[in-house]
């Protein structure tokens, strides 16, 4: 039923885009939309090829590419290898971002509180109810924790940020995994929901004793009071571009079938534990070699020239070895009529 909606919208889209035959069309995740727009602007200026990207959300992006109404879909949540196979899609990462827990505790500054994954899960489950709970106090010797009730703030809208965060909690807590689970939107056991990063941040700022989670770029630009989260090496890295890059560098992309990889709890002393890439979805078998080639050429250009723009907008570029690996995948994974559409020029 929804497919007919999408198909109808797609027909209208095709009619509309016919006049811009040379432009690339994409739709999906809102999180990377600013950097895609920035890349598209520069790309258009240098090559003349434009990109029409509609930031309609990851779910919408997946629906659109499955309905073949766009050249590529974009999603913050990677598709599982079996989903990719079932629909004939191939996915690759573009930039890295992450999730940062933020708090509003009177007298506590950014980076002053240390939490572990299981503690975060217990807090968001409503099990740990006050900030001076012995569990939190034990991990934070020397910090004066107020005896204040904890208010949990989560995203109300379905989002890749929630997916990444709940995936991390599921990974760290069997109770969370079995009772709540990981998804774009889950049945939150406690707390209240704000719409978007700004909704969450507004509620956190307005509610003393609250804890929420936002995208890294948002936390940084708004100078929010983040907490430190313990990583796989037992260290407490700070949410900085370097530490997100460390998580991306430590990840084993080559061993991930279908590039299905959440950069959660990656090894490395500096690796930020709640990191994730955002993905592009294209058909393995391109019906139109030219449009498939345009898409890969655009992202090839972005890998090569886009890191500055990405960093400026507080996204974390992929490490070079990962980019090279993805480029190599393009030559074998995306074909039209049996021939690769991207040859590395």
């Amino acid at each position: 039923m929804f497919k007919t909606f999408v198909a109808a919208a797609g027909v209208a889209g095709l009619l509309a885009s016919a006049s811009y035959a040379a432009d690339i069309s994409g739709a999906g995740a809102t999180f990377p939309a600013p950097v895609y727009a920035k890349w598209a602007e520069t790309y258009k200026a240098t090559t003349g090829t434009g990109l029409n990207y509609q930031a309609i959300g990851s779910g919408g992006g997946i629906k659109q590419i499955k309905a073949k109404t766009v050249d590529f879909g974009a999603s913050d949540k990677p598709l599982k290898p079996e989903d990719l196979d079932a629909s004939g899609l191939y996915q690759f990462p573009t930039v890295v971002g992450g999730v940062v827990p933020v708090v509003n505790i009177p007298g506590i500054n950014a980076g002053q509180i240390k939490l572990t994954g299981p503690m975060l899960a217990a807090i968001f489950y409503g099990q740990v109810k006050t900030w001076d709970d012995p569990v939190i106090a034990k991990a934070n010797p020397g910090v004066k924790l107020p005896s204040m009730p904890i208010t949990v703030v989560h995203r109300s809208d379905g989002s890749g940020t929630s997916f990444l965060f709940t995936s991390y909690l599921s990974m760290k807590s069997p109770a969370w995994s079995s009772k709540v689970g990981a998804s774009d939107s889950v049945n939150w056991p406690t707390g209240l929901g704000g719409k978007g990063n700004d909704g969450v941040s507004a509620f956190v700022k307005q509610t003393p004793g609250s804890i929420g989670y936002v995208e890294y770029a948002y936390a940084k630009q708004n100078k929010m009071a983040y907490v430190l989260v313990q990583n796989k090496n037992g260290k407490y890295p700070a949410p900085t571009a370097e530490d997100f890059a460390a998580a991306a560098a430590g990840a084993k992309w080559a061993q991930a079938p279908g590039n299905y990889l959440l950069l959660l709890d990656q090894p490395g002393a500096n690796a930020w534990p709640i990191t994730g890439a955002t993905f592009i979805l294209v058909y393995k078998n391109q019906e139109n070699a030219a449009s498939g080639q345009q898409v890969l050429k655009f992202f090839d250009w972005a890998y090569k020239n886009g890191d500055g723009a990405a960093a400026q907008l507080d996204y974390v570029p992929l490490p070079l070895p990962v980019k090279n690996l993805i480029r190599k995948q393009w030559t074998t994974n995306v074909t039209a009529g049996g021939k690769p559409v991207y040859t590395g020029k």
């Binding site: 309609i56 959300g57 809208d157 774009d184 049945n187 209240l192």
Partner: protein, 322 residues
């Protein structure tokens, strides 16, 4: 002299042949009929597509869809009771707040207000209707909610002299995002519509009626409450339903400030959700078929709810006609 002052004897002869006129009449009637049926077809199309889209959810959960307050996209267990209750409670509460205000504003404008300031006040009220709902939402989130939390919620919650039932009514997280503030925002949003229509209604009262009442020695209050409001009673039901209809479907402003938690709200100051806010929050990212279907089913429920409100309004009006 223009045509309106001419009487029938001096009217110019017909310029078109009778046959031609009939043809254009037929076309005109046909076009009007077409417009009406197109509207009906669009309405039917919406209902049918909502029913088809929501069918998998109705089939899966049966009547439990309306009584269960579960809403879990991970386990694919959906129930609409929470959003339905949230929608009805916020809308009715908004109406309770807005109705006296709307009556007050329009009675003042029609009855007591000096001419030269009546116009600016009327314009200001109508301007309220022109503010996009997202602006109300942002104002609610960034201005009303913190103010409400600090100056209303916290003092009430820390006060110890309140009876237990009242404390239960106002239990919740003191941050201003709750059922009550959502209703407040809704009340402000529906106020201009209601007061504009109510004002028009009051203006239809013949001046003799009012003057007669005053002539009998009635006070202002008696004229308004015993003569004017009863005179427009039937239309007033329409005003109420107009406000309610708008409050039921309002989406963006409510989404910002209601707190968006699924399940039943347990108090006035508890966070909740409405049907429209749930759809707005989750539709874009709903990837599984059952999730999409449950949201479309919610849409159908909202449609039926709004339709029922209109139908009840019609019935009330009909019963008053005798």
């Amino acid at each position: 002299m223009n045509a309106t002052t001419m009487d029938s004897e001096t009217a110019p002869p017909r310029e078109t042949a009778p046959g031609q006129s009939e043809l254009s009449e037929t076309i005109f009637r046909g076009l009007c009929f077409g417009a009406a049926t197109l509207l009906m077809a669009a309405l039917a199309g919406v209902v049918i597509s909502l029913a088809i889209g929501g069918w998998p959810a109705f089939k899966q959960f049966g009547f439990g869809f309306f009584t269960s307050s579960a809403w879990n996209p991970v386990t694919e267990d959906y129930g609409a009771a929470g959003p339905i209750v949230g929608t009805v409670v916020t809308s009715v509460l908004a109406l309770v707040i807005a109705l006296p205000l709307a009556v007050g504003v329009s009675v003042f404008l029609v009855e007591f207000c000096p001419r030269n300031i009546a116009k600016p006040i009327a314009v200001a009220v109508e301007l309220l209707a022109g503010i996009p709902s997202i602006v109300y939402g942002m104002w609610g989130l960034f201005v009303l909610a913190p103010w409400f939390a600090l100056h209303v919620q916290l003092p009430l919650m820390t006060s110890t002299s309140l009876p237990g039932w009242f404390q239960a009514m106002i239990a919740g997280i003191p941050n201003g995002a709750n059922i009550f503030t959502a209703s407040l925002i809704l009340a402000i949003m529906i106020l201009p519509y209601m007061s504009a229509v109510f004002r028009e209604l009051l203006l239809t009262i013949p001046s003799q009626v009012r003057e007669a009442a005053y002539g009998l020695g009635s006070t202002n209050f008696e004229v308004v409450s015993k003569v004017m409001i009863p005179y427009v009673r039937r239309g007033a039901v329409g005003v109420v339903m107009l406000g309610l209809g708008r409050a039921l479907g309002e989406t963006m402003a409510v989404t910002f400030i209601i707190g968006n938690s699924h399940g039943f709200p347990h108090s006035l100051f508890d966070s909740g959700s409405t049907i429209a806010s749930t759809i707005a929050n989750e539709f874009a990212e709903a990837t599984s078929d059952m999730h999409t279907s449950a949201l479309i089913a919610l849409g159908l429920v909202l449609f039926i709810l709004t339709f029922a409100v209109l139908a009840i309004a019609r019935l009330l009006l009909a019963s008053e006609k005798h």
